[in-house]
Symmetry: C2
DNA sequence: AGCATTTCTTAACTTAAGTGAACGAGTGGA
DNA sequence: TCCACTCGTTCACTTAAGTTAAGAAATGCT
């Protein structure tokens, strides 16, 4: 498992043995099997999750049904709202694939901020950009039909359609799996 | 008009004549009539809008139809995504009521940041909180039906239902005005 | 390989939103 | 004051999503 992490990291940076030791003693990188739950509803956490490899999803359980609201794949990350509100989480986070996830902590952030003030600027810019992106996504969702949302997803995130189960995709699009099947059949029908 | 601004401000802080002059020379506060457009589609801007009194809305025009995606009332604000992406705006911003709006500029932010480093921390926290709120709202929208969204709106933003025209509310809920009428009739029917 | 489980699709039926049109109430302007 | 216009509601009809059920296909486990 450590080899997988090191192999992955070596694609990006060259590490001295000391640095490798330092990284593992930091206990920041984690390898999870597909299906592993990182956060459960009702649980309190101060952790943020950043995906290096694989894919994780956030979902609510409403009336016994899973409602997937977001996917985070390579180089994407989440800080659950409950981290900021200091309340139990409203949703679950779990891995849709075997994944390497960087897990960081509010306290860790504070330590880094104290050492490197420029890190704060980075975080502000990062979070402002995320906010803008999220706003655009939200607007796109509101102003389009399920079918348009699906067609849009094909354009913007073709990988998701391949790697994620249909029923999770469906709830991500705000519809039932049966409706997604039908909708896809409709699109293919129209093409031919 | 300056009296209205001063009257409003005096509820919160006491100002010396010099400060009053300083405020107006800053040219930060603006009074707009209902219906005034602050930002047009295709326009470039570096401005953020913060509502002190009244209410503004953001909307797209898609196939000649207005699609309202957000309302900002007292003590709420927006930075349009186009400010960050440096591209022409995709949407309009206009006043749904006579409003007092604080308009600030990316450059102004930089100046303030340089003078007061703690201001950066404030901005980061503010934008992280906004991000969390937005995420919660987005999730709530995705996981609920138009009717649930309307019922939710009654709980969370009862003021909007009173002060905003139905057809804008409808598009904010992601439906047509006729559907909103029907939906409301359905709810009343069920109560009795 | 064989069995159980999950996942995806199809179908028939129900429910709710979209569409186009008409009507009355309210609003603003000449 | 009167006219035109906007706004909200209602109705009839269309379209698409929800629901329930069944079966085929893929997956996982032993």
């Amino acid at each position: 498992m450590q080899n997988i992490l090191l192999g992955f990291l070596s694609k990006y940076i060259t590490l001295t043995p000391e640095e490798k030791d330092a990284i593992f003693s930091l206990d920041i990188f984690h390898l999870f099997k597909k299906g592993t739950t990182l956060l459960k509803e009702g649980q309190k956490t101060k952790e943020s999750y950043f995906v290096l490899k694989g894919c994780i999803r956030t979902y609510y359980v409403i009336d016994g049904e899973e409602k997937t609201t977001a996917f985070y794949a390579e180089l994407e990350g989440v800080t659950p709202p409950c981290v900021l509100t200091q309340t139990p989480s409203d949703y679950y986070i779990s891995c849709t694939e075997d994944s390497i996830v960087l897990i960081s902590d509010a306290e860790m952030g504070a330590v880094v901020n104290a050492k490197f003030p420029r890190f704060e600027t980075l975080c502000r810019i990062f979070s402002e950009e995320l906010l803008a992106k999220q706003q655009i996504d939200f607007d796109a969702f509101k102003t389009s039909s399920p079918e348009q949302r699906y067609l849009n997803l094909i354009q913007k995130r073709p990988d998701l359609i391949q790697r994620v189960p249909q029923h999770q995709l469906a709830s991500y699009l705000g519809i039932k799996p049966q409706s997604l099947s039908r909708l896809r059949a409709r699109i293919i029908e129209r093409k031919s």
